[in-house]
Symmetry: C2
């Protein structure tokens, strides 16, 4: 901790998207010197970071060369070359979370094996090498519909996941090493973000509920606190605390859970970094997820995760019919809504469904916050000045 107060502590973030941007907004409050590695020199955090390096974080030497400039390295994305990170650890750079943890999480198969080995509740699963392997099991009758296929590597934001309901969906089977899970009858999806520091202190945030648009089958908004029973809340937080401890992980871990129609809780997957389901903590908790990660990487005491008020968070996605220089319609009307906190990531070009920003709505009453969110859904559109495609 000593060196933080000389204002000379150099902290590196791999990838410069919105999560890194919000990390830097907080890091600047403590006067840390920030470094970003990203292939895109117009990424969200490019204008805010003290130092920017353009490069591919999937390349070992690029990761290594970037990391050699800093004292502490952390990340906002999973798909990083782990060998580069491991070389840095050997040479004394503090990489948090540890690359071994990232390596395990990068492979959904290893994640599932870890859950099973340590008796964490997760849907039953099998490994498959490729598409033909899956087809063979279906034909033999050892694999029955419906099931969920998850690519072992490279998936995120719903990509790399295929739900196979019947013979008619066979064309959607991914031809890659994968994990195939029993399809759980999902009643709710929730998320817990938990942090752990070097001293072993653990803190988790109040539970967030993902609310789906029944028509589009997309996450419409996230609400905190989740509408679940006290027992379910306790169980999910207990699992989160046990999981981060069992992994002996320092850093921030976001865990997504299913609750099935019987009320049982299953771990879906996890991410060792700040998470979309924690954006609202900037305004609605004493400590935000971003500050919490910085506290963990700096060997600081963790902050209180107490809720200041309920919150709803909606992602601002690029309108499906627009592409080009971004325009936020009705922004000023949204800004007039009490407790609406607008975050624009600074991506200059909108594309269909691209995450361009988010709005967190805080209100002492969650139902009011949900009603305000509905109004914002109606008002705010991310379109393009230039062209309707």
């Amino acid at each position: 901790m000593g060196s933080i107060d000389t204002s000379n502590l150099k902290i590196g973030f791999i990838a410069g998207g919105q999560l890194a941007k919000m990390l830097i907004q907080k890091a600047s409050q403590w006067d840390l010197e920030t470094y970003i590695l990203d292939p895109d020199n117009r990424c969200a955090s490019q204008g805010l970071t003290n130092h920017f390096m353009q490069g591919d974080f999937k390349d070992e030497n690029t990761v290594y060369n970037f990391g050699k400039q800093v004292d502490i390295l952390t990340f906002e994305i999973e798909s990083i070359n782990v060998n580069g990170l491991k070389r840095l650890v050997k040479e004394g750079v503090k990489v948090i979370p540890h690359p071994d943890i990232l390596e395990m999480i990068q492979d959904k198969g290893l994640q599932k094996t870890f859950f099973e080995k340590h008796h964490f509740p997760t849907a039953a699963f099998r490994y498959f090498d490729d598409k033909s392997d899956i087809i063979k099991s279906i034909n033999e009758g050892s694999l029955t519909f419906p099931f969920v296929q998850k690519a072992r590597k490279g998936g995120y934001d719903g990509r790399g996941v295929s739900i196979i309901h019947s013979q008619n969906d066979l064309e959607n089977i991914l031809d890659t090493p994968s994990v195939v899970e029993e399809a759980v009858s999902i009643a709710k999806e929730i998320s817990v973000i938990v942090a752990r520091n070097k001293q072993g202190e653990i803190q988790s945030f109040p539970i967030v509920e993902m609310i789906f648009d029944p028509k589009a089958n997309l996450v419409k908004e996230l609400a905190c606190p989740a509408k679940i029973s006290i027992e379910q809340e306790k169980k999910a937080r207990d699992i989160a605390h046990q999981l981060i401890e069992k992994m002996d992980m320092v850093g921030l871990l976001a865990i997504e859970f299913f609750i099935d129609t019987k009320g049982d809780i299953f771990i879906n997957e996890m991410a060792p970094r700040p998470h979309n389901s924690g954006h609202h903590t900037i305004e609605s908790n004493i400590t935000s997820q971003y500050e919490q990660l910085l506290r963990a990487v700096l060997d600081m005491p963790l902050g209180s995760t107490k809720m200041l008020s309920p919150a709803v968070m909606i992602n601002l996605l690029g309108d499906p019919n627009h592409e080009g220089a971004v325009h936020y319609e009705n922004l000023e009307k949204v800004m007039a809504i009490e407790g609406a906190h607008v975050h624009l990531y600074g991506k200059k070009i909108t594309r269909p469904f691209r995450k361009m920003g988010h709005v967190t709505i805080t209100d002492n009453n969650l139902e009011n916050a949900l009603a305000k969110a509905e109004k914002i859904h109606q008002l705010l559109k991310v379109t393009s000045w230039k062209t309707d495609r």
Copy 2:
């Protein structure tokens, strides 16, 4: 407002100290492109701004040349060359607040005349041209002890103010054009920050009380809400609203008041910019003073100033016995206190009494927050790694 959503709106701040830094932290949330003018290329906001220009904001051409680069210009300091700002207004740059208002506020004599003309309560006063003019009035018996002398121009942070109790203090009389006020028997000092936008909407923040260290006679901490009567609160907020309206001002105005031993309220002085007495709003109010100023300059609806929790703010001043590369003692112990929000401005060198940062303590109970502040006063010292002088 239209151009904000192209991410191409350029906003300039004159001076790059901690107030500008906190403005930029918020501006980055809306993806505004930020420009700073400051003589010091190691100023607090240098590393965070998109564009930095080193230069003297007391020089007309420097101000003009800086302002020509931006769409909107605002400031965090009063001592700016007003002619430069006026030329910019003539050429279509949006300068907020208007330079005429800054010009009036730069001169404590014009401020007092404005208060008097519009019947705002302020201590009785007279103008003097120089020291000999004051001595003459004392000798003639038309000016009696005790009195307060304020330099008409250039004073800030207590500089440019002299309290003359008796003949023994004559050497402390400033030899400059000044305003001399009747010494009010001060029971309390409070501050109100009020904002107004182009549409004429007005919002003020809950009132802040300055708490003095009785020994050092310095502001020890600021607390919100102030411990005053409901009538006093209403009166101070009413004055603030009337004052910003009467000035026809767009922007943020901080007004410092005295409450005398009879309970009457007097305006002490005002500043047309974010203010030390509003730092806590970052964590303790729905909208911070920084966001409120940005909303006003962007012609946005003003934000809600509702308090989320009581707050105490303490300035981190350089220890009187240290100068050199800064070191914050016991920072990690302070970070362990629930609701302690540490802000380090990033000044590399500490000097006696230099403002190096602040800590805001939020707590549902103001007395608890004050107790935590006391603990932080004991713990946190701003010293130097290198040398005790």
